[in-house]
Structures are given as C-alpha cells and as structure tokens.
C-alpha cells in the first residue's frame, strides 16, 4: 500500500517561491494566473495493513512542520 502526503504552506503564510513562479508565468504571458502556491508531495511505500494513524504520526513528528504547513493524506 501507498500513502500520498501533499504538504502545503498554510493559508496566510507568504510563499515567496509561489510568488516567483507567478511572476515568471506572467512574464511568459499567462496573465490569467491570479496566484501560485508551491508545495511538495511525499510518497510512502508502506507495509500492507499500516494504520492511517501511524502515517498521521509520521506527519506530525517529522514530515510536516505544523507551524507553517498543513497536509492532506491519501492512502492507496
């Protein structure tokens, strides 16, 4: 089984990289882009039967910094 963790900066936390990507898109002529937020995806290859609670604990203890980041979790 797999877990796909999508980590994003929380709303209200300024994302300088997203801002830079937005301005680069604007330079390319994509004026319809109102905003860009950049995050990351972490894919875990897990032993079958792993409890989702375990994955949440991995997120809170290491994978995600709850001061600035939030995440969504998808188990496949």
């Amino acid at each position: 089984m797999k877990a796909i963790i999508t980590v994003m900066l929380k709303n209200g936390v300024l994302d300088p990289q997203g801002e830079a990507v937005k301005s680069a898109l604007s330079v390319l002529g994509f004026s319809e882009v109102n905003g860009v937020r950049q995050g990351k995806v972490i894919e875990l290859d897990l032993a079958n039967g792993t409890d989702e609670l375990q994955v949440n604990e991995m997120c809170s203890r290491l994978l995600v910094n709850s001061v600035i980041e939030c995440y969504t979790l998808e188990i496949m």
Partner: protein, 222 residues
C-alpha cells in the same frame, strides 16, 4: 564553563564556533550527532551553522530528530544554556525549543553579507554584554532566514521581551525584522546571524565577542 559544539553531517561552522568559545574562556568539546549523550556537567550546547543533512525535507528537520537532539532538549529542559546559530536556529525551531519557523528568504536569494543588528534586550546571558538598543555588525549567510511566527506568538515574544536581536534593515522578510529569539526561560537563543564570524576586527567586526564573553562569564559566575 563547559561547552559542547554539536556536529551534524553538513555542519560547516563548527570549528569557528569552537574557536569563538575557546577564545572566550570556555572548555569546549565536540559531539557527533549519533552520540546519544552529552558530556557530563555541561553548561552550554552550541549548535553551529551549515546545511545539516543537506537541508533535506526542511532545514534542520532531520537534525532535530537525531539522537543527540533528544539530549539537547533534555539539557535545555534542565535549564542548561543552548545557542543555535543559522542552521542551529533552524534546528532549534524544529525541536520547538524556540517558537516559529524559518522560511525561504522573501527575495529568494542566498544572502551573505555583514549586517547591522539592534540589540533588543539585555536581559539574557547572551546579550547582557551589549548596551540596550545598541547597534552591532555581524555577518549573515543564509537562504532560509525568513522568520515566521503567528501574530499571537509575536505578541507574546514582545510582551515577554524575548526578541534578542532585530535587523536594522530587514534583509529576508522576517516577521518584526527578528534576527534572534529567546526561549521562555531566556537560556536558549536562536539567531540567524553569525557572531562567531565577528570575533576580531580583521574579520570585519569584533561585535560577536561580547556575546560569547558575557555567556561564558555568566556560566562561570553561576
């Protein structure tokens, strides 16, 4: 004063930190990150700058989970002194010994230059050697020094006089131009600028001396 400098894979300011502490009168040892214990009767742990674990995942995140960091947190909880500089500051935020987080510089560039700092409080072993509100020059060298705290946490930091240093001109987008913060018991300091790189006039500035001398002197007196 007995001090230990922690070395992670990717630390690169550890030797400068050792020299700065020794020159200021401390008895200094170095500790490898895989060690689970600190030397006995330690007064100060210094976490140096660098790029621990290649800055993978988040700056300082992996170092903060290393065996030695558990011992550093216990040392701090016992009331021991901890100084984290640059990557050391990032590691301290990841261990939650100081609040907040350090994000990519607002201008996205790696910044490496001397910079003016305002000493915001004299009320700590780290800053008692400076005059209140005095301006000192210390180098910065970082890509991720943009200090983030929630508005509520910032209010708490200011109310409790725990902002140690502010940038005279904010280089990286830090909240309230914060360059260094203290823990609740004022014995843990995290700061992005490098006082260990400002120890002699021939290095461009000797303004870091007062931090190390006050810190080493305080622990001897205690």
């Amino acid at each position: 004063m007995r001090a230990a400098v922690i070395i992670f894979p990717g630390s690169n300011c550890d030797r400068d930190m050792v020299v700065a502490l020794r020159e200021s009168g401390a008895d200094v040892s170095t500790v490898w990150h895989k060690d689970a214990e600190l030397p006995q009767n330690l007064d100060l742990v210094a976490i140096p700058g660098g790029f621990s674990f290649g800055d993978y995942l988040r700056c300082g995140a992996i170092a903060a989970q290393s065996p030695i960091c558990r011992a550093v947190v216990e040392h701090a909880n016992r009331g021991g002194y901890v100084l984290g500089v640059c990557n050391g500051f990032q590691i301290l935020t990841e261990t939650r010994l100081v609040p907040g987080a350090l994000m990519r510089n607002s201008g996205l560039k790696f910044l490496c230059k001397p910079i003016d700092l305002i000493v915001e409080t004299q009320d700590s072993a780290f800053t008692s050697g400076y005059g209140h509100g005095s301006k000192i020059q210390v180098p910065i060298a970082h890509h991720d020094g943009n200090y983030f705290v929630t508005d509520a946490e910032l209010t708490t930091l200011r109310d409790e006089d725990r902002v140690a240093f502010r940038y005279s001109a904010n280089p990286n987008g830090s909240a309230y131009a914060i360059a260094g913060v203290l823990s609740v018991n004022r014995r843990v300091l995290g700061m992005m600028p490098h006082p260990e790189r400002a120890m002699e006039t021939k290095m461009g500035s000797a303004d870091g001396q007062a931090l190390f001398r006050a810190l080493v002197g305080q622990a001897i007196a205690a």
